[in-house]
């Protein structure tokens, strides 16, 4: 059995035309405006689309009328059509121009704390003046001396103070081409750490937040503190294929977070990073990273649960597939239900006919 739609092609075309007409025209100015005016939204689409391309992410937002799941899908689809040309050099602290760096665990971290661009301490009030006139932002204040480009990592500071185990040394660094890669290999559990961190980097923000928040509210086994949050511009460094020298082919926005938990005899860290600036995602992600290491984590915080259910395209795709025609499968279930009802009805009638009538009470006496 199958179900065919009559006039479907024309209806589908008309539906898309209506969608685009209601969303308004697309133009280079609109795309440039989105890229310029909505950088955090563009960051989110790039991170979840796992492709750093601000103009294309802005285009995806414009083309989908701001439907983020569709925008991420568009970017992932585009990404799958272009070849992989190279592997950049691993991003380290030396490649960062840090614009925001805070710690909630230690007030006196080496290099100090800079708030950078943030609304953390601002009143959240709609600026309704902007509905009737242009509102220009004030020029930012400038100190006499510049902040440092980068900072000594808080985690390394802990290591120097003997609070944290040193990172594994002596192992040969894995060539980038040999790194586990979720875009090419299925994840097997327990996942390699590279798979876990890559999955968190491209995970859907709302999913990461929901599971992270569940841990924070009390379903988790830990109560960590933010060790360090960093927002930065990072040089993407590539090796010149002829001379072999490394150079920067440009800068991209990234964010990274470590959370720290105070154990009986040591500190332990959780970590998450992502393309673009997205603090909610990296804080929740870093907490989930730590939670996933626990032997008896809440079922919603096991590695498989977290990594599978925060995959942006798979989860949204699975959800929206439910609105596509399911007539045959649903009808098959309905047929089974009708058969059961018919059988029950028949058996009941048969029972009524076969069984002797028992009359109770006053009717029996009469």
């Amino acid at each position: 059995m199958y179900v065919a739609a009559r006039g479907g092609e024309e209806a589908i075309q008309n539906a898309e035309t209506l969608y685009r007409a209601l969303n308004g025209p697309l133009s280079p100015a609109l795309v440039e405006g989105i890229e310029r005016a909505l950088p955090y939204l563009v960051d989110r689409v790039m991170a979840e689309g796992s492709l750093y391309a601000p103009d294309l992410a802005a285009l995806a937002i414009a083309q989908t009328g701001g439907d983020l799941y569709e925008a991420v899908l568009l970017l992932r689809a585009y990404r799958s059509t272009v070849p992989r040309l190279a592997y950049a050099e691993p991003l380290t602290d030396a490649d960062l121009v840090v614009v925001r760096r805070i710690s909630a665990a230690f007030k006196d971290i080496p290099g100090g704390q800079v708030l950078g661009p943030t609304l953390d301490y601002s009143h959240r009030i709609l600026n309704t003046e902007a509905l009737s006139r242009d509102v220009q932002p004030e020029p930012p204040a400038e100190a006499e001396e510049p902040a440092p480009r980068g900072y000594f990592s808080v985690a390394d500071w802990h290591r120097l103070n003997g609070l944290l185990a040193p990172t594994a040394k002596g192992e040969e660094p894995v060539a980038p081409g040999e790194l586990p890669d979720v875009t090419r290999d299925p994840i097997a559990f327990p996942a390699p750490r590279a798979h876990r961190l890559q999955s968190l980097a491209r995970a859907e923000t709302g999913g990461v937040l929901a599971l992270g928040y569940a841990s924070m509210r009390g379903f988790g086994l830990i109560h960590p503190t933010v060790n360090e949050v960093r927002l930065a511009y990072a040089d993407v460094r590539l090796r010149h294929p002829i001379t072999g020298v490394a150079f920067s082919l440009g800068r991209a926005r990234i964010s990274a977070c470590e959370v720290v938990n105070n154990m009986a005899d040591r500190l332990e860290l959780g970590f998450a990073a992502t393309l673009g600036w997205n603090e909610v995602k990296i804080i929740a992600g870093a907490m989930l990273d730590m939670e996933m290491d626990k032997a008896d984590a809440h079922p919603a915080h096991t590695e498989e649960f977290v990594l599978y259910h925060t995959e942006a395209v798979e989860s949204s795709g699975f959800c929206i597939h439910y609105k596509l025609p399911h007539y045959v499968t649903f009808n098959s279930g309905l047929d089974a239900l009708r058969r059961v009802l018919l059988k029950r009805d028949t058996e009941q009638r048969k029972r009524v006919i076969d069984e002797p009538v028992v009359v109770e009470g006053e009717e029996a006496l009469a």
Partner: protein, 138 residues
């Protein structure tokens, strides 16, 4: 000027200025062969500060070009995004610099661009410094 500094300055130059300059340098070049000029992805690994291992932060869209000048010297250029002309311009300048063509002009252009970038960085970092907080325990 060393090679990495030159390449970094060229990739960070505004695309329009770079293309104009590459066009000027091209006037001094007899024969150019474009070996590759395309758009693609570069995988971007990051070092995990917890365990020290690398993982892929994501992919970066890039344009790249490889050229050969005068049948001899090869040059390579790459930049973020999809601008294959920008990548081609960088590759031409790279090949010219490596082949000793217009070396001084190219280095001057790159030095100017590096200075502009450094000044922009300094301004940004002074703005960041203005957001520094000192925390005291009472």
């Amino acid at each position: 000027m060393d090679h990495p500094t030159l390449l970094t300055a060229l990739t960070q130059a505004p695309a329009a200025a770079l293309k104009r300059f590459a066009d000027e340098v091209l006037a001094d070049i007899r024969r150019i062969e474009v070996i590759e000029n395309r758009v693609g992805l570069t995988m971007w690994p990051m070092r995990d500060p917890v365990h020290g291992a690398d993982f892929f932060l994501g992919e970066v869209l890039m344009a790249e070009a490889r050229v050969r000048l005068g049948g001899e010297v090869e040059g390579y250029g790459a930049c973020l995004g999809r601008d294959v002309e920008q990548a081609l311009g960088i590759a031409v300048l790279d090949a010219a610099w490596r082949g000793g063509i217009a070396t001084r002009r190219i280095e001057e252009f790159a030095a100017d661009q590096a200075l502009i970038q450094a000044e922009a960085d300094q301004r940004l970092l002074r703005q960041v410094e203005a957001t520094r907080i000192a925390l005291e325990t009472f």
